[in-house]
C-alpha cells in the first residue's frame, strides 16, 4: 500500500476532535477511496493537559502551530484554530511556504486573506482546500469550484448561518420574541455568549464573500458586503410575512447586476412556497442560478463537529489522491477585482411596516410620498386601532396603527427617500421597518 498521508492537526476543539474520530472510523473506506491511509500524526492546541476523548500520546505534540506547520513529519496541515490573524494565519503561510497543502475551516481568515493565501498555494503548487469554511456539511465549495464549471452564474444566495435560522424558526413556530429565542439558542449551544457576530450578519457576510468569489471569479472583498442582522425582526414582521405569503430568512445574496456585483446580507422576505423558505432550524441551504439553467439548491447541516469534520476529511481525501485545484476555481491572476454595485441602487420589492397615526389624511400622505418616488404597491394592509373598529370615522386619537405594505420592484434609494419624507410629515411614529424581498 502507498505511504499514508500524514496530517498535522492545529486545533482540538469540537471540530479537531471530530476529525480525529472520523479519520479513525473511516480508515478502511478512505484507503479504498484514496489508495492510501490518511493519518493524524501530530497535534497542537492551546492546552496540552485538557481532558480529551482520545489518547494524546499516540500523536506528536507541538506547542506552537507554526512549528507544527513546518515540521517534516507532516505532509499536510489542517487548521481549525480559527480567527483571521495569527497564529492561524502564520501557521498556514508557513505550511504553504514549506510546500505542504493546507485544509482549513477558517472563514474569517479566508474572507480577509484568502486572495494572498491562494496565491501562495499556487506559487508552491499545493492545494488550499476549505470546504468546511462555508455551510459545513454542504459540498458547496466543490460544487462551485468543480461541479458546475460550465455554468455562467448569475446569482448565489443562501441561509449560511444556523444560529439566525434557528432563531427565526423558533420565533415563528413558538411565537417567541427575538431575545427569548436567542437565549434558548445560547442554552443549546447554537449561539455564542456574545452573539453579535452571528445575529448581526457578519458570519454570513464572510461566507458570502467566499462564495461570491468562487461563483464570479472575483477577488474576495468582505468589505464590499452590505450587512444587516436580524435583531430588529419582530413577531409582527413574521406574522405579516405569513399573511402576505412570505417567510423571513437571513439571506446572503450575491448577484450580478448591470451596476456590478451586489453582495448583501439582510433579513429577507422569500415566497413561502420556495425551497429556501422550507429550510428550518440550524440547517443551511445555498441556491445557485446560472444562465439558461434551472436553479440548483443544496441543503444540509451548516455547522457542528461531525458536519465540519466530514468536509475536512473530503478535502484531505482530494489531497491524498493528488488532486490540486486552484483554491477559488481559477488561477489568482485570473481573478478580477470586484465591481461593487452600490446598495442604494439595489432594485427589488420591499416590505415596509409603519406605525401610522390613526387620523384622517395619514393614508393619503403616505401614498403621496410613495408616489413621488414612483413606488407602486403590490399590497397594503392597514389595521385600525381596536377602539375605532367599525366606527363611522377613523379614530381621532392619533393612536398608532400598523400599516404594512409590499412594493413592486423599486430602488433602495427611492424607498429611503419616500420614508424620510413620510417621517418628516410626522404621520408615523418610530422607525419604519424595511425588509427586502427576494425572488426565490
Amino acid at each position: 500500500m502507498a505511504e499514508p498521508l500524514k496530517v498535522g492537526l492545529a486545533g482540538l476543539g469540537t471540530v479537531g476532535s471530530a476529525v480525529i474520530r472520523l479519520l479513525d472510523q473511516g480508515r478502511d473506506k478512505l484507503v479504498a477511496r484514496c489508495g492510501r491511509p490518511i493519518e493524524v500524526v501530530a497535534l497542537t492546541a492551546r492546552s496540552r493537559t485538557k481532558k480529551r476523548d482520545f489518547e494524546l500520546k499516540k500523536f506528536r505534540w507541538f506547542d506552537n502551530p507554526v512549528t507544527l506547520a513546518r515540521d517534516p513529519s507532516i505532509d499536510v496541515l489542517v487548521e481549525v484554530i480559527g480567527g483571521e490573524g495569527d497564529p492561524a494565519k502564520r501557521a498556514i503561510e508557513t505550511a504553504l511556504n514549506a510546500g505542504k497543502p493546507v485544509v482549513t475551516a477558517n472563514k474569517a481568515l479566508l474572507a480577509r486573506h484568502g486572495q494572498k493565501l491562494a496565491a501562495l498555494a499556487e506559487r508552491h503548487g499545493v492545494a488550499l482546500n476549505f470546504e468546511a469554511a462555508v455551510a459545513g456539511g454542504i459540498p458547496i465549495v466543490k460544487t462551485l469550484r468543480e461541479g458546475l464549471n460550465g455554468a455562467a452564474f448569475t446569482r448565489i444566495y443562501g441561509i449560511l448561518n444556523g444560529t439566525c435560522n434557528y432563531i427565526l424558526t423558533r420565533m415563528e413556530q413558538d411565537r417567541l420574541a427575538f431575545d427569548d429565542c436567542l437565549k434558548e439558542a445560547q442554552r443549546l449551544g447554537y449561539a455564542e455568549a456574545d452573539p453579535t457576530f452571528d445575529v448581526e450578519g457578519h458570519d454570513t457576510a464572510q461566507k458570502l464573500a467566499i462564495l461570491a468569489s468562487l461563483a464570479f471569479g472575483t477577488k474576495i472583498d468582505p468589505d464590499a458586503v452590505y450587512v444587516e442582522g436580524i435583531s430588529s425582526i419582530t413577531l409582527a414582521d413574521l406574522d405579516a410575512a405569513a399573511e402576505l405569503g412570505y417567510r423571513v430568512k437571513l439571506l446572503g445574496v450575491a448577484v450580478k447586476t448591470q451596476a456590478g456585483i451586489e453582495q448583501r446580507v439582510h433579513p429577507t422576505m422569500v415566497p413561502k412556497d420556495s425551497a429556501i423558505a422550507q429550510v428550518m432550524g440550524v440547517t443551511n441551504a445555498v441556491t445557485v442560478d446560472a444562465e439558461g439553467l434551472a436553479p440548483i439548491t443544496l441543503v444540509g447541516p451548516g455547522a457542528g463537529g461531525a458536519a465540519t469534520a466530514s468536509a475536512i476529511v473530503a478535502d484531505l481525501a482530494d489531497i491524498a489522491r493528488g488532486v490540486v485545484t486552484p483554491p477559488f476555481g481559477r488561477p489568482t491572476a485570473r481573478m478580477t477585482a470586484i465591481r461593487k454595485a452600490p446598495m442604494q441602487h439595489h432594485e427589488g420589492g420591499y416590505y415596509i411596516r409603519l406605525l401610522a397615526r390613526d387620523r384622517p389624511g395619514t393614508a393619503a400622505t403616505i401614498a403621496r410620498r410613495l408616489a413621488q418616488q414612483k413606488i407602486s404597491l403590490e399590497s397594503i394592509v392597514q389595521r385600525h386601532a381596536a377602539g375605532s373598529r367599525g366606527a363611522a370615522q377613523p379614530g381621532r386619537s392619533g393612536e398608532a396603527v400598523p400599516v404594512i405594505m409590499i412594493t413592486y420592484a423599486t430602488s433602495e434609494d427611492a424607498v429611503h427617500k419616500a420614508l424620510a419624507a413620510v417621517r418628516r410629515d410626522r404621520v408615523v411614529s418610530g422607525r419604519p421597518q424595511v425588509i427586502r424581498l427576494e425572488r426565490a
Copy 2:
C-alpha cells in the same frame, strides 16, 4: 496558453448541440478555470445532412463513432448517443483502449457495463466521467465520489425521473387522472411516445444502481433493483395521502440494512413537510444520509439539454485540469459484490387502500387478518357509501367502500400475507393498492 483539450463529440441531439453551444459561450471562463480551452474538433451523428443550429463544416466529420473514438485528432470522447449497446459501447471502449478519457451521459450503458468500463479506464489511467448520467444538472456524482469522502453513507434516495414527478405533480395540483397527465407530458416533450421506460420506473432504477454503487462502494447491479412504476396511482391515492399528511413521489431508494443493501424504486408516501415532498414538476432531488450527519439534499434540473450539457462540460473541465478520479470513487478491485436484501424482508410503514364490501363483519375480518401478521395501524379511514351515511346500520348492499390504512413498521412479507388472506375472505373487491412509506 496551453494546448486546447480537443473533444470528439458522438451524438448531436439536444444534448450534443447544447454541449457545442455551451463550450462556445463559456470559452473564456473555461480557459480561466482550466488554464486551457476546451474545443470540439470532430463530430459524428446518425445524419450528416440534418439541419443544425451550428455550422457543421467547422468540425471534422466522422460517419462512425468508433472511428472517431480512436482518431488521433481528439483527446477525449464525449458520448451522447445513448443506448446500452453498440455503437455507444464500442466507441467508449475504443476511446479508453486508445488511452483517451471519456465523458458520457449514458445511464443505461453505465448501469449495465459500468463496472467493466471503469476497469478499462483504470487500466489505461484515464477518466471516465458521467455526471450527466444521473439527475442531469445536479452534481450528485461528484458529491458522492469526492465531496463526502468522509461520510459513511447509510441511505440515498431521490426523485430521479422528471417525467414521473411532473405527472404526479399535475395529478395532484390539477386533479387530473394519470392518463391525462401522461398525455400532457408527452405533448410538452417531457415524456416519450413510449413512456414505459420512464413511468414504470426503469429509468429511475438505472440511475439508482449507479448512485448505490457510488455511495456504498458496491459493484453496480441493476438487476438487484426492485422496480414498480406509477401507472397504478390514482387521484384517490393522492387525496388520501394529502389527508393523512403525506405526498406520493416515485423514489429510488438504496439503503443499508442488516440483510444487505436494498435497492428499490416505487411510488412512495413521504411526509408532506419533508424536503423531498416539496420537489415539484420535472425537478429532481437526491438526499444522502450518513452516520452521525444530518441529511444533505441536492435539488435541481434533472434533464434537458442545458442541464445535461452543463454536467458534461464540468466533467470535461476536470479532464482539462488533469484530474483523474476512479469512476466510482474507488479502484474497481475495491468495489465489493452487492449483498442484495430481498424485497420480501423490506421493513417500513405501508399505505393500504382496499375496496371493502359494506356489510357487517368486514372491518373485523380485515382487522383480524392484519393482527395475525402482527401489523399495527397508525391510522384508518373508512368512508361509508353515500346511501348509508347516518344510517343506524351499515349498508347491507355489499357495495364497495374505500378503507384506507397506514400501518406502523412491518414487513413486506407480512403485508402480502395479510392482504392475500383478506382477499381469500372475499370481503374486498379488486386489487388492494399498496404504497410504501419512507422516512424523509
